[in-house]
Assembly symmetry: C2
Homo-oligomer: 229 residues x 2
DNA sequence: GTCTATATACCGATAGAC
DNA sequence: GTCTATCGGTATATAGAC
């Protein structure tokens, strides 16, 4: 269960314009099908879990024959891994950095906003990630032990420096990161619960704005910070 | 998938002392086996998901033949439902109430502590619940729509009253409940991630104490409250 | 009540025609 | 590259001996 392979298909975006202006790209169909499959897999895995999702159902959602799916991803575990590579890549593009010279209030607020926005834009990815962690992270263990640990340590060091400089209340930086993670992801992972409790049919953009505002409000004040203008 | 039946086996704890002082209770073996199965089911379902958990593996963990398990719970879905009835019953016993005349700081602090303690004592139950919600709550939908909605509304009303009386900062009471839920459950649901990031082999009691202290510290201050003595 | 044997169904993966 | 047919394995659930 440590087969956390990198999706290494040739995805170079080589443009090779044809005669009549229509772009010709070798592997364009392949690329498109790959994306369709990964998107379908995201929905099926998120909704039914690893075992519960079947290659058949993924194929149907992607509007491709089952064997075609197995042609692109030789087996189910590889497909699952490739999906996480996809998700983690997407996340890395979005994550903004924080630096010691930044204003703590502004940095934390923008971090919270970015995470809430992620919950809004990629709820399936968030749920998949949560399910994977809850079940013991068999596929992402390596990622947690290396990349994520380093990521947290880097951010925690910056926060600690802010504290040492007396620019915010002395709270455990690592716990603070966990608090921001959990409270923001909650809106994606527990969407159904939130909707049911609030008796809403579906989320609207303003719900996320409201959530982000509430969280920055409470967490920043909890860190002894004034809300940025 | 709406077969959310209540486990209605005769579980009356009728004591019927025998001749030599040894308690005789009809259905005692049945009760014991039921508990063993439900405990095993909790572990298997939490670790592998609904589809991933097999009756065979549950039976082995409970040290009973597979058919014996199917004798107590006629099928897999009933077993899954009975497990949640069990969990929800356990939770209802623990949940403390909050009243308008309580001190907001103390009430919220004890609520946070109780939830963290729950994450420590019943991590599997928390993970099962999370997985169920993430996957759209097919079995718990009814519970969310009725019991849980009422529970939240009752607590939110009390918090709102505190706000109206100027005893705490004006924050959205429902969002505050979500914040406390998400941040406390996180320690059970994302245990592996937390351990990996902090490079720890396993949780200790003091880790939970530390987490509870951090959360009460930040959240209470975020609500404009002083930490209770 | 307990357990063996088995019916039935479905899944992942492969072989091979086109 | 695409698709049909199918193999081997395993799951739930039941029938029936004890």
């Amino acid at each position: 269960m440590t087969d956390h392979s990198v999706a290494d298909d040739g995805l170079e975006a080589r443009d090779d314009p044809g005669a009549n202006g229509r772009k010709y790209r070798p592997g364009r169909i392949r690329e498109r099908n790959r994306e369709k499959i990964l998107l379908a897999a995201e929905e099926e895995f998120a909704l039914n879990g690893y075992k519960g999702a079947t290659i058949q159902s993924i194929a149907e959602r992607a509007e491709l024959p089952k064997s075609n799916v197995l042609y692109y991803f030789s087996n189910k575990t590889r497909m699952y891994s490739a999906m996480f590579d996809d998700i983690l890549g997407r996340w890395n593009q979005v994550f903004s950095d924080i630096r010691p010279e930044d204003d703590p209030a502004e940095a934390l607020a923008s971090f919270i906003r970015a995470k809430v926005e992620m919950s809004r834009r990629y709820p399936l990815a968030s749920r998949l990630f949560a399910t994977e962690i809850i079940q013991g992270a068999p596929f992402l263990m390596d990622h947690l032990r290396t990349n994520m640990r380093e990521w947290v340590r880097g951010r925690a060091a910056v926060i600690q420096q802010w504290i040492d400089e007396g620019r915010m209340a002395p709270v455990d930086p690592v716990q603070l990161i966990f608090l921001i993670w959990s409270s923001t992801q909650h809106y994606a992972d527990f969407q159904v619960q939130i909707l049911m409790v609030e008796n809403k049919a579906e989320y609207e953009k303003r719900d996320f704005d409201h959530a982000a505002e509430f969280l920055t409000d409470v967490i920043l004040r909890g860190c002894g910070l004034e809300k940025p203008a």
